[in-house]
Symmetry: C2
Subunit: 240 residues, 2 copies
DNA sequence: CGTGGCGTTGAGAAGGATCAACTTACGTGG
DNA sequence: CCACGTAAGTTGATCCTTCTCAACGCCACG
């Protein structure tokens, strides 16, 4: 039998975490087995159906969550009901604004999702202990900021056709977190209405532009929710 | 004579920092006098004129900078020249994306600005030493993310009239970093062209909406670059 | 007294929104 | 298994907001 070594490998990776999407790429990658084991005492896995609300704008946050599978839709609404989707989160992102008392967005499961719920105090105490963890969380925030700014260009300066192409390109390159290569055939995680709210367009305009891309042979619409992109470079050209 | 105490107050706040806008509110607020003194060995103050480029998109970053006075414009351009302003930075923000090898945006002085230039290695070594500093930087990134998402709603879902009102409201509430109260009379840090690029509108549309707000008595246009808002609540109502 | 940069105003064109009809997919219950 | 109902998506016609193009005003500067 191997002697017990006095280092971080005293502890083994918890069984639940061994096959977890967030174990290495997500924030848990910054934790050693000991910390991970401690954290798992207060976490729990849940499955949410598409459409379920996970967090409401201006409501207190009681927990964070690692996205393990599926897509989360982040949105904001104006008083009169106009809605804007301000971001999508894919595995292995952390859901929830760190250190904020209340949410600044509404979070909703866009597809069926698996989450690893982490109580707010559990994560926050770990954050103050581990600079490596806080660093990971900061790097995610910075990446989200870059993505938000990229999308501002799409919202402010692109035509409807370019917007829809940009959306399809985004999904093709983000839908599978395990795969480094973009997908050529995938399910859309959003309805036409949500796509419109993401792009600042109406459902009708989204639909027309999708039909146009199909007519031009840039995408195939297998099913309303499933598209296939034979040549990603050609789609990229349509993004403006 | 007081005995020297073995704590952080062994060191005095550097003279240059004593009257600095970033000393308490900005990232330097996370540093003790010792760290601050060490940092000032490699920093230098510079003044930049409106229009000077501080950082180019996709170019290597050699330094960060604290904004001490004035407004920085962050923008992105598409290949064909279409431009989008993706954010404004006011004192005492930190300019420059932490830990990134190259910039993801173009940064330009919108007004005359004073900066405290910090070499990249100097800040980054401090960041790895001080969890408190990294925490501040993360909090700024999270605030910027919130602001970017708020602006996405403006870009995606508001009318031209609401966009221009939102811009004026943003400036009124951000232009003076020392003042808790919004300003009722202020200089616009952006030209009409830049305002258009911030709002995803043309110069002409910005101009027409400004004239309309003036005709409706919501704002007074003292000078092209100086406006006065007698009733901020009325302006707020126009923001949608 | 030009000249050029910046801003405003007007007329016409165009892109996307709105309103409305129709299609497709899918679940439910007879 | 099919009739029905409903939700989601598509397509067409028309309207309206914003863009485009053009002329003009203001002001600083040589």
């Amino acid at each position: 039998m191997q002697t017990v070594r006095n280092d971080t490998y005293n502890f083994e990776t918890p069984v639940l975490c061994q096959s977890c999407a967030a174990r290495h790429q997500g924030i848990c990658g910054a934790l050693n087995p000991e910390q991970l084991l401690e954290l798992t005492k207060s976490t729990r896995r849940v499955r949410k159906q598409a459409g379920e609300e996970l967090m409401a704008d201006a409501m207190p946050i009681s927990s964070y969550a690692n996205v393990l599978r599926g897509v989360i839709k982040l949105s904001k609404v104006l008083e009169d009901g106009r809605q804007q989707v301000v971001g999508l989160q894919f595995a292995p992102d952390l859901l929830g604004r760190p250190f904020a008392a209340e949410s600044r967005v509404t979070a909703e499961a866009a597809s069926e999702v698996d989450l690893c719920i982490i109580p707010k105090p559990a994560l926050e105490s770990l954050l103050t202990q581990s600079a490596a963890l806080e660093h990971r969380v900061m790097m995610q925030a910075l990446r989200e900021l870059d993505e938000a700014r990229d999308w501002m260009v799409t919202l402010g300066r692109k035509s409807a056709a370019e917007k829809v192409a940009s959306f399809l390109y985004l999904i093709a390159t983000h839908i599978d977190p395990t795969d480094r290569e973009p997908e050529t055939s995938f399910d859309l995680p959003l309805s036409r209405a949500d796509i419109g709210d993401f792009l600042g367009l109406t459902i009708e305009t989204v639909s027309r532009q999708m039909s146009k891309l199909k007519a031009d042979g840039v995408v195939e619409i297998v099913n309303y929710r499933h598209v296939s992109v034979p040549d990603l470079a050609r789609l990229r050209l349509r993004c403006g």
